[in-house]
Amino acid sequence: MSSKRLLNLRSYIPGTLFILPAFALFAVFIFIPLVYGIYMSFTDYGGFNVKANFIGLDNYISLFKDDYFLVSLKNNLIYTVLFVPLTMLLALLAAVALNGVRHLRKFFRMSFYFPYITSMVSIAIVWGLLFNPLSGPVNQILKAVGIANPPEWLMSSKWALLAIVIVAVWKSFGYYMIILLAGIQGIPEHLYESAKLDGANKFQQFIYITLPSLSPTLFMVLILTIINSFQVFDLVSVMTDGGPGRSTNVLVFRIYQEAFINYQMGYAAAMSTVLFIIIMVISLIQFRLEKKWVTY
């Protein structure tokens, strides 16, 4: 080996050493589990030191005949369909309103953002009490405004999922509001000025300038909220434990139960692969569409 080549190799040493801790952690705790998980999903592995047998596609075949799994998938889709538009709408309204005021801005921003940084467990416990059908403030308010028979919320299999969506929207809209606010503030002022010269009112400015200019940010928030909606766990675990019945059982909760309560690790790994594929498909759609969405 020539001395020049050796010198060249040597120049890689510091960089390699600097990256080594992160790389080792990534390899052992993320990459190996990812590959191992795919293998596991083809076995009947039962956790800890139980011997696993290779069973081919059996887990995946049973998965799509498994009522419980399909119910959790359906619940999760309902959750997504409610959570995503509600969160985006509230975040957008808050961002636009906040951009339009000059008083108390910091207070508004902090109070909308605050729920996001508090723990899911604490707020799930609080909201559990707020939603109490008899003594909780939610129904007290509903009764006060004239609704004689307000829902039983967490005790009703019809309303429990909606109650969880309400809490999730309340908790996270402030976070997306900040992202959208940054987007709105990045819109060049001259666009508004020329619109004003053309006689556009505030509403028209919003429709014809703010919304199109914000579309890349809105699209990103859309993807983030969808991905986020497939990770819901804490609220379900604390507020309803998946119930009443199976009415609030969602994907990650089902994976958790199967893996860590029933010790059906192989089966749970197959469910995890389904979750992984769902998220990957959403991400790929994002990559595909991202460029088309820049409209200005």
Partner: protein, 281 residues
Amino acid sequence: MPESFTLSKSNKLLYYILLIALIAFSVATLFPFLWMISTSLRTDVDLFKNPSNWFPTSLYLENYKQVWTAIPFAQYFFNTLKLSVIITVLQVVICCMSAYAFAKLKIPFKNVVFILFMANLMMPWHSIMVPQFSVVSNLGLYNTHTGYILIQLFSGFGIFLMRQFFMSLPDELNEAARVDGFNEWQIFWRIMIPLASAGISTLAIFTFTYMWNDYLAPLIYLNDDGLKTLQLGLKAFQTEHTMDYGLLMAGTVLATIPMVIVFLIGERFFIQSVATTGMKN
């Protein structure tokens, strides 16, 4: 900005309507927290007699005393603090080292490694939690703080965030330091780290909050009472004391206070980290 705020009379009216709507909406958003504090200061008798009275008639502090003995609250609090601090410090150091290497040093297969690391941002942890648990328990680290710490140390977000900071520093800085006889390790600690302190604060606050509030990973990994965190303790507390509203709320208030402090100190860093989320996409 000042120009757009010179308003006509009718616009002024609209402006104040908007302002009042925002105030009402803020109060509604904060209501669960206000109710939590108010309930923690009431006796259970008072609560069940007048459930529709949301304000305490007198300050009843007994709940805050009982919470420490009803569950091993101090132990849980200490465990959470210990884990959050250790993970935050180690994660920040590891992310900075690797981010610095990406920004300023030569690494074999740099782009491939970087794409692999960033792909981790797309992939939710939940989709690998089952096999990861299996790997950790095969290493003999199930039900240990070490196991829980190790799985939290790699952060694609942290590496991305810090790389942005290091990339914004001029290369001439490194060259000058090398001429002065510094080695890469010294350049990193003495020059780069102090210059990246804004980014470090952002990442540290973000990680600390996340770890303080983490629930699913401790639920899976920590089984012994002596190892459990505050979030697990609160959940168990809720199951045992379903009817002790006051006590339960005192527990959640105490568990939330550290986050309020962190939030008030680091509000601008939170905003910054969210803005970066926007950037990365």
